[in-house]
Symmetry: C2
Subunit: 146 residues, 2 copies
C-alpha cells in the first residue's frame, strides 16, 4: 500500500499544480483543457459527446456542463450529427484552436517540470506501460461508462 499512498499524494499534488498553472495563464480548467486537446486531435476537430466523455473520463452531465462553458467563450460549437438526429457533435472553433495554441506551451512546461523531467527514460517508458495497463484493466472491470 506504500505505492498507493505515494501515488495518491502525488496525483493530488499534480492535479493542483496543473490546475493552478492553467487557471492563472489561460483561465481554463484542467478539465476544459483536456476537452480542447482531445478535440484538437480528432478528425475534423469534432467528436460525439459520448465519445468525448469516454475520452476525458467524465460523466455525461459533466461534459454537457463543460461544453456549455466552452461554448459561452466561443471555443467550441455544437453541431447536429448527420447520421443520427439524437447525436451532438462538439466542434473546436478557430478561436478554440488559437486558445489551445497559446496555452499549450505553458501547460506542457509544467507537466515536464513536475513529472517528465524527473524520470529517467526507463522510468518514463515503464510509467506509460503501467498506466496503459491500468487504464485497460479499469475500463474492462466496471461499466465502461455508467
Amino acid at each position: 500500500m506504500a505505492a498507493w499512498r505515494a501515488y495518491l499524494s502525488a496525483s493530488h499534488l499534480l492535479e493542483r499544480r496543473v490546475e493552478e498553472q492553467l487557471k492563472a495563464e489561460s483561465g481554463l480548467t484542467h478539465a476544459q483543457y483536456e476537452i480542447l486537446a482531445r478535440l484538437s486531435d480528432a478528425p475534423d476537430r469534432r467528436l460525439r459527446m459520448t465519445e468525448l466523455a469516454r475520452g476525458v473520463v467524465v460523466s455525461k452531465s459533466g461534459l454537457t456542463y463543460q461544453i456549455g462553458q466552452l461554448e459561452k467563450r466561443g471555443l467550441v460549437e455544437r453541431a447536429t450529427c448527420p447520421s443520427d438526429d439524437r447525436g451532438v457533435l462538439a466542434v473546436l472553433t478557430d478561436r478554440g484552436v488559437e486558445c489551445l495554441r497559446r496555452t499549450a506551451p505553458g501547460h506542457v512546461a509544467v507537466v515536464r517540470e513536475v513529472l517528465i523531467d524527473l524520470l529517467t527514460p526507463d522510468e518514463l517508458e515503464m510509467m506509460t506501460r503501467v498506466m496503459s495497463k491500468v487504464e485497460a484493466a479499469t475500463r474492462a472491470s466496471a461499466g465502461p461508462l455508467p
Copy 2:
C-alpha cells in the same frame, strides 16, 4: 506526452472506480476515507487540522467541511489543542476506528485489483519511487499549501 495522457486517463478511471466502491460499500467518500486512514495512523489517532490537510492534500476549507461531515456521523471529534488555543485537533472516535476496520478490506481489495496486482514487483517498486519523487518535487515547487 504519451506518458502524461496515459497517466491522466488511468488516474481518472482509478478515482472513479475507488469512489464507486467506497460509496457503495460504506457510504464514505474517498476523501473521507483518506482522512480516517490518516488519523488512524497518527499517534493518539489525532492530528492538527493543517497537518491533516497537508497530508491528504486538500484545501483548509475543504477539510473543515469534511471533518464537519464526519463529525455528524460520529466518526471524528474535534478537540482543542492544548499547546495552541487557535489549534483544532481532529480525533478519530471508536466508531471511526470500527468503521475503518469494516471498510478497509473491500477498499484494499479494489486497489489491488485495479493497480497493485497488475504490476510486477519491479514495476511496483519503480512506481513507488517515481511517485515519491514527484511528490517531493511538487511540494517544493509551488507553495506547500496556499
